[in-house]
């Protein structure tokens, strides 16, 4: 009997701790949300308080003056297209890296490792000059290139570790059934990777969506710029309109949250299936 009570208490503590933790995770975002509904003066006087009246004009200003609608489309395009390429290419490379030994395998592994280790700002000027020379600056597809290239390492490593833990028997069976390499990769292994696929998809999308330095440096035309650039235009030389900036931030963050909530269902399916007797 004592065991039972102890168990119940521990369970309670666990749940309370998790709840507290979750609250700390969500509160700053909630704060950002209600701060965006204040006026500049209200915010300057008290940063914590709830707004007395809800001012939605910050959102109107963010969209109209900040041209968020224009940047929004560009961000969606860049993020979606780059993610597709990252997933497909990343998956293929990860598959070969994890399943087969071949000449140059270790070199390729290390090369992709490099991509994860070098700070992006260091490569800004070389990439800028390179793109300038080849004529890749300021085009619709300009940002896709660095987004895919820099997004590959993480995707590759995530896929690789997952594929490694998948038994080889499945592929061998498929091969014996007469499957070509392409079939094996895409029709058999790829679907198995669904959990890590969703994860990688969301994380890669995030990275592209929030990316800033390349979008700033490689683009000139207003019509091509992305949301993070639009957000930063709310900072003047000496002044910042914080509530307006927050409204813009909320707009910027919303699509990713929506995307995450959509895809997270996949992860949860798997989760309840995995802990079956639980």
């Amino acid at each position: 009997m004592k065991n039972n009570i102890l168990k119940k208490i521990l369970q309670l503590i666990l749940n309370i701790l998790m709840l507290a933790f979750s609250i700390t995770c969500i509160f700053p975002l909630v704060w950002m949300l209600y701060s965006s509904l204040k006026t500049k003066q209200e915010f300057a006087l008290n940063i914590i308080s709830l707004p007395k009246v809800l001012h939605f004009d910050n959102y109107l200003a963010a969209i109209k003056v900040g041209k968020m609608h224009l940047f929004f489309g560009n961000s969606i395009f860049n993020s979606v297209v780059s993610v597709v390429f990252i997933i497909v290419i990343g998956f293929v490379v990860a598959y070969f890296l994890s399943r087969y030994k071949f000449k140059g395998r270790n070199l390729i592994y290390v090369l992709f490792l490099f991509g994860m280790l070098v700070p992006i700002h260091s490569l800004l000027i070389p990439i800028f000059i390179q793109f300038k020379v080849v004529g890749l600056l300021d085009q619709r597809y300009t940002l896709l290139l660095p987004y895919v290239a820099f997004g590959l390492p993480m995707a590759i490593f995530l896929f690789e570790s997952f594929i490694k833990s998948t038994p080889v028997e499945i592929e061998e069976a498929a091969y014996l059934d007469g499957g070509s390499t392409g079939t094996i990769i895409f029709r058999i292994i790829f679907p198995i990777c669904r959990p890590v696929l969703s994860t990688t998809l969301i994380l890669s999308f995030l990275n592209s969506w929030n990316e800033f330095p390349f979008a700033l440096i490689l683009l000139r035309k207003q019509s091509l710029k992305t949301i993070p650039i639009g957000l930063s235009n709310f900072n003047g030389q000496y002044t910042v309109n914080y509530p307006q900036l927050m409204a813009a931030m909320v707009i910027a963050v919303l699509p990713v949250i929506v995307l995450y909530l959509l895809f997270s269902k996949r992860i949860i399916e798997g989760m309840t299936a995995g802990s079956v007797k639980g």
């Binding site: 500049k40 003066q41 300057a44 006087l45 200003a61 003056v65 900040g66 979606v80 297209v81 597709v84 390429f85 497909v88 800004l124 000027i125 800028f128 000059i129 300038k132 600056l137 300021d138 085009q139 619709r140 597809y141 896709l144 895409f186 029709r187 058999i188 790829f190 679907p191 330095p213 700033l216 440096i217 000139r220 035309k221 207003q222 091509l224 650039i229 930063s232 235009n233 709310f234 900072n235 003047g236 030389q237 000496y238 002044t239 910042v240 309109n241 307006q244």
Partner: protein
């Protein structure tokens, strides 16, 4: 299920590729590149300045920006565009910080636009890399334009006797904004004009539980630009600075400069500032002032429009302006104040002929006396004299400033005229100085070491 996934991905990929190819196909044809237009205009023999041309202009005035300079810039530019329909200006507006990063990258990659803005501390690098030319000839050919500029407006951009920039603003980076009501309540009836009086006032304010000076030095330029540039001059005088700039023998380890550092540190030691001075920025330093919890803050003339727009009415009405008082035995003038243009326009050194003339025409439109009028009416402070000034249109604080400005003697702003590397060492060092992590002597040695590299 697997089939579907495979198919839908291939379809998606295919669509994406087609879309991107189509998109890039269209964008290549549109938009002007400076190369082709330059070729076109060169081919067209002589002038008729009515020939259509396009100029690329990257600047730091986003339309969303509510600062005076930005508002005035856009008004003036619109006016210019209306009067010159044959000149197409392809603007790329960026926020201030983004502009700094981008212009440096473009300079390093030799891909500068036709017209841009240069920061004082970048001038040397741009000149060394032949990215800009002197503007003396252009100005000398237009007396009216040349004469409209305020005295000392060009100082930050004069290198080897030649002028490399056309300024649009005259900054006074040091002003003490104080609340006269709070000072009165603490027993200070007039703003102190001696250093001892200043320290005494600080003590009186502390006794009343008020933060004497609200300082937000997170950006690390505030202490240097808004305080030290002037405080330093109080001790050293302008000759010392000029000697440093021209490398004629003055050192940062000279006792006058070290004393200035010591005086600044002393202010921090006697508790003149708030304890979180390195973690709040220049915007947040004003919050304590607006709330009546701080008696003063130090910032440049750009903050006037902030106070006018953001401060509660009673604070605003009680706000007066002053300068740091003179120091005993100091070599500087009591009315000296760090001032300068800090930023200025210039054009790409590769421009010539029609485009060059047009580019300067644009610049005239955003810097001449007419611009100055628009600028002042937008609560900004131009580098040129306004054609007409209707004082009634100004906020009271702006009027007070203009009265004070008339008496000020301009001395250089450190970060406008000294090299970027040196300023970096000075700025980070000042953060340490203010929290007593470094002694004035050691900081002086550090700065001197960077100077001698």
């Amino acid at each position: 299920m697997k089939n579907k996934i495979f198919r839908s991905i291939t379809l998606f990929l295919a669509t994406a590729m087609v879309v991107s190819l189509a998109a890039c196909g269209s964008s290549v044809s549109s938009d002007t590149s400076t190369a082709t237009t330059a070729a076109k205009t060169d081919a067209v023999a002589t002038e008729s300045s009515k020939e259509p041309l396009a100029l690329s202009f990257i600047h730091m005035f986003p339309v969303e920006d509510t600062e005076g300079n930005s508002i005035a810039f856009h008004k003036a530019l619109e006016k210019f565009k209306g009067e010159n329909p044959n000149i197409t200006i392809n603007e790329e507006p960026l926020s201030h910080d983004n502009y700094e990063t981008k212009i440096r990258t473009l300079a390093a990659g030799n891909e500068l636009p036709d017209i841009f803005i240069v920061k004082g501390s970048m001038t040397n690098m741009f000149i060394e890399n032949k990215l800009i030319n002197p503007v003396d000839d252009v100005l000398n050919n237009d007396k009216e334009w040349n004469d409209s500029f305020l005295q000392g407006a060009f100082n930050d951009f004069i290198v080897d006797g030649k002028n490399y920039g056309i300024p649009f603003q005259m900054l006074n980076t040091h002003l003490i904004y104080y609340n006269k009501q709070i000072l009165n309540d603490a027993g200070i009836s007039t703003f102190p004009d001696t250093w001892a009086g200043f320290l005494d006032a600080i003590n009186k304010l502390k006794a009343k539980g008020i933060t004497p000076i609200s300082l937000g030095n997170k950006g690390n330029w505030v202490a240097e630009s808004c305080i030290l540039s002037t405080l330093g001059d109080r001790f050293t005088g302008v000759d010392w600075f000029n000697s440093i700039k021209d490398k004629k023998g003055a050192k940062f380890t000279d006792p006058e400069f070290v004393n200035a550092l010591a005086a600044l540190q002393n202010l921090a030691k006697v508790g003149a500032f708030n304890s979180d001075l390195n973690s709040i920025d220049n915007m947040q330093q004003k919050t304590a002032y607006y709330n009546g919890k701080a008696a003063m803050f130090m910032e440049g003339n750009w903050a006037i429009s902030n106070v006018v727009n953001d401060a509660p009415k009673d604070i605003q009405d009680n706000t007066e302006l002053a300068l740091l008082p003179a120091v005993d035995g100091g070599k500087g003038d009591a009315m000296a104040n760090s001032a300068g243009a800090a930023w200025a326009y210039n054009v790409n050194s590769q421009l010539s002929g029609e485009k060059l003339a047009a580019a300067f025409k644009v610049l005239k439109g955003v810097t001449d006396a007419d611009y100055a009028t628009i600028s002042v009416e937008s609560n900004a402070f131009p580098a040129s004299n306004p054609k007409s000034l209707d004082k009634t249109k100004l906020a009271p604080l702006a009027s007070k400033y203009l009265d004070l400005a008339a008496k000020i003697k301009a001395v250089p702003i450190y970060d406008a005229q000294l090299p970027a590397g040196l300023i970096q060492v000075m700025n980070t060092g000042l953060q340490d100085l203010l929290i007593s992590s470094i002694t004035p002597e050691d900081l002086a040695k550090k700065i001197q070491a960077e100077y001698e590299k």
